[in-house]
Symmetry: C4
Subunit: 212 residues, 4 copies
């Protein structure tokens, strides 16, 4: 007795519902890590501006983690648009990815508390591991041929590069942080052109075949 | 190979699932900012009432932020009812909107801690930016013609006014707060008749054409 | 141009998604209000049991609020199973209901901190208001004839009683609390037989007509 | 008048939406229990490593609770894939399960604060109760014949074993903890081979009949 289609797709729906739930909560909890500045009554505006400026690393941590999780969510969406069936391996690798996503607010909190070599390396390590777990999910699905035929074979190099680029940048920044934590933070800026370039190249390659 | 319809709509579903998730969490986290009043055992009821009254700004902040996010959620719904396809621009602008929505509990917390010129300006700025990012999403979708034909062209002025009205009120209240923070809070009351009037006028305009 | 069915039902989906999200978060946040007991190393088990027993009101508050929100969620489900179209009134009344649901963790926290006349009255008032806002949603929908014909007219008395019973019990317990807070808490036990009886009577009445 | 199919499935959708919501929030809130280590500026890396190592029980608690809730979520998915109709009993038992799931972050917090006999027994008791409530849900559904015919009768022993195995391991570890808390934690490792073996045997049994 084969299960009716509705049921199988319902299971995928719940996998995505749990994933979207954890991701939505993780990015929203990030804000709890930002502390309200201590501004005594009657503080002149220029001093308040100074106090807020001193918290730059908390705002940076919030935006960094929010946008990186947002990027991973988009890649996650990409995987599951193409997955046709899923087995226990997918479910457990997805759970590992969520475990790391849910850990990001803690990593961000460590970075906000210690915006030095230790904190920079810590958040970079957490974001690198999260990205690698997502890449593992993609590679597993591609190897096990759980994804649409055609997608896996086409543009393989670029697809892999898209999943690996961000975690590699974060892993590299740990090495840079051992020299200078500020330089390490600056390497994160490379994420924008790298992801942009990979997306454009992937789009070009796929364009004549389908409108992904 | 064109993607089957189910997949494209599934992607929109996940965008809305993430958005609804972040919005639901942000409005529910607001309550964590309200502190439990310190009421020693045996305090007479009249004194308790006084202590609760002293916290008026925390309750006001909760209700303000809850209702304004609720209003933005309704406008967000409006946009996505009409969007037919979405590209990366939509996804990133939506993420920016969510980043600002998730920041509202922090803004509310600043207002609750400093119910003076600083706090009033801060929450007004956060709510204004959030509203402007949503307006940007609508304008982008309209410009790129990603929304249903007809909707964008019809009643353009009122549609734009609906998206811009609330953030403009908040932006204006920052100027008022530099004179008097209480007056600034009173300007927020204008949000009710303004949104009501714009909705009625939009409904009239669209009524004979469709029941949006 | 009438909107296609898919869109209208999509809008209802988002209303329910936001509602389920807020309700799920509110009941899960309740646990954050329970404090971890201070148990010095080497405390004998009997003393630990005593310390945990001293926190009875925190566990009681958690279970009470969780189950009452659960009950309200079931009634909310009942309303929206029968609603065929929804207007702005439904959306705003629903938002008011969610605002009060999201306030329950705060009310529970007040009760946990002050398990006396003040706290008992406070949580009872919050739960009563939440229930009355849900009853208002039902009454509005029934008056505006937004619900399936037949359902509203059939068994009107019992339907209204189901929505009003729980908030009336909580409102009454505020009066009892002014005499004795423990008796007030005991009146909450009546919720179980009252809801059970109303459900059975409603089921009987509807049974021969449909299997709601 | 029988309810149309869409409505009944919508109700199940909301039950699953609430369940997935509570589960997603509970596993994401776990991270809030991990404290940021106190690392004075200029602490040498070896000392930092030592400080992080001292927090091993917080990381262990996070991973344990995350993975066990993940496992229960998978079993929950299994139940609802097979449930064809649901009555009030299902709804209340599901709510009891969610009440216990939402309690897990508190249990984890107790374990993180007291990684001794008391804390080990406490988290084991919470996870055992949560698992038993899920087993009760399955047994109730099977008894009331709310699940697909065939599934309940086939492989009954293995199905029951799958639901009961994990809570029994946790219940047993409470007894072990009274002798030695470290041994108790080691018994939790048995969860991996036990669940793996039961899954394989179940898959074998069902394979020739359907691809669950």
């Amino acid at each position: 007795m084969a299960l009716p289609f509705r049921r199988e797709s319902e299971e995928t729906d719940r996998l995505l519902a749990l994933s979207d739930g954890v991701i939505a909560i993780a990015i929203t909890l990030l804000v709890l890590e930002i502390t309200v500045p201590e501004v005594p009554a009657g503080t002149p505006p220029s001093v308040v501006a100074g106090l807020v400026f001193e918290q730059w690393h908390e705002y940076l941590g919030y935006m960094l983690s929010f946008l990186v999780i947002g990027l991973y969510w988009m890649l996650h969406r990409r995987i599951f648009v193409h997955i046709e069936v899923h087995d226990r391996g997918i479910v457990w690798l997805n759970l590992l990815f969520l475990l790391l996503v849910a850990f990001v607010p803690y990593g961000t909190s460590v970075f906000s508390t210690y915006p030095n070599r230790f904190g920079v390396s810590f958040i970079a390590a957490v974001l690198a591991l999260t990205g690698f777990s997502l890449a593992a999910l993609w590679i597993y699905a591609a190897r096990k041929q759980l994804i649409e035929e055609g997608i896996a074979s086409r543009a393989v190099g670029i697809q892999a590069a898209r999943f690996l680029a961000s975690p590699i940048v974060f892993a590299s920044s740990i090495a840079v942080a051992s020299v200078n934590p500020v330089w390490a933070m600056l390497t994160w800026v490379f994420l924008i052109p790298i992801n942009g370039a990979l997306n454009s190249r992937l789009a070009e390659r796929l364009e004549d075949e389908s409108n992904v």
